[in-house]
């Protein structure tokens, strides 16, 4: 039974992965990633990682994918495809690199001579992989990584807001130069009144430089 579930989920995960890299429309790529994530969650359940399976579905297939969908609907369709497509040779080279990586990993794993990887794993102890066990580990042995991860999330959230903030008056480039993304934009050197919540509400008259 677990063999059957493994192969179904593995085929789902591989199909999802191929879909992500093969589909032209970014929307469909994101959708393929959802299928991939859900198949992976099934595999995590087979490996007795109940909490991580749930977290995978909630965080990835829920929150992260919603973020992707918003950005794709904001950017994706209008993405100009300037220049010609990468040639057949470039694509073949990329897939050759991927295949070489897979072969290398196979050699590394199967040639490692580890006895345990050809077994089903350690005997199952009740409570393995449950939220209770994960929580105990996070708040005892792994307290420092847990706290650092929370700081990392805070920094990433502030960084994303700073990067993606609306800045009026800077969109067309300065004095005919093509628009670029510069350090000054991130440090807040911008026309008076732009990049504020006030401006987003339309309450500020932007002074053109």
């Amino acid at each position: 039974m677990s063999t059957l579930v493994f192969f179904i989920a593995a085929i789902g995960a591989l199909t999802g992965a191929i879909g992500v890299i093969a589909l032209k429309n970014p929307y469909y790529s994101v959708l393929a990633l959802v299928g991939h994530m859900i198949s992976l969650a099934a595999l995590f359940l087979l490996l007795r990682a109940e909490f991580l399976a749930a977290a995978q579905v909630i965080i990835y297939a829920g929150a992260v994918i919603v973020l992707y969908v918003f950005v794709v609907s904001y950017v994706g369709e209008s993405a100009p495809t300037v220049g010609q497509n990468p040639g057949r040779m470039a694509a073949l080279g990329a897939f050759a690199c991927g295949a070489a990586l897979v072969v290398e990993l196979f050699i590394a794993v199967l040639g490692s001579g580890l006895q345990a990887i050809s077994h089903d794993g350690a005997p199952y102890v009740a409570g393995f992989g449950t939220p209770a066990q994960i929580g105990t580990l996070l708040l005892t042995r792994f307290l420092a990584p847990f706290e650092i991860a929370s700081y990392l999330l805070l920094v990433a959230a502030i960084g994303a807001v700073t990067l993606a903030r609306r800045r009026r008056g800077l969109e067309t480039g300065i004095e005919g130069r093509p628009p670029t993304l510069e350090l000054a934009d991130l440090l807040g050197l911008r026309p008076q009144g732009t990049g504020t919540m006030h401006e987003a509400g339309g309450a500020v008259e932007v002074v053109e430089p």
């Binding site: 490996l47 992707y68 960084g159 990067l163």
Partner: protein
């Protein structure tokens, strides 16, 4: 199922993700392919965690999920900033940072 099967699947997904990063030019899809690679690593970590009957690998995988979420947030922020500037959303056109 022996753990080797999970490791083989993880290697396949990782290779697909790496090929996707090399072959696609839309930065959003490149971020999706990075997710594939991180997920492959997660599968291997959880497989090893099961192999030893030890929860440490699962904590590691959880931290990887957090780091992936941060990477996505900042990456998508950069893409939105590029779009706001009317810059082409195409990694082949964005050469300035590569020196």
């Amino acid at each position: 199922m022996s753990i080797a099967w999970y490791l083989a699947l993880s290697a396949l997904i990782f290779g697909l993700g790496a090929a996707g990063v090399l072959v696609r030019r839309n930065p959003i899809v490149i971020l999706l392919c990075l997710e594939l690679m991180l997920n492959a690593a997660n599968l291997a970590l959880i497989g090893f965690s099961r192999m030893w009957g030890n929860g440490d690998g699962q904590i590691f995988a959880l931290i990887v999920v957090v780091v992936a979420a941060c990477e996505v947030t900042v990456g998508l922020g950069i893409i939105v900033a590029m779009h706001r500037r009317r810059l082409p959303v195409d990694v082949d056109e964005m050469r300035e940072l590569s020196g």
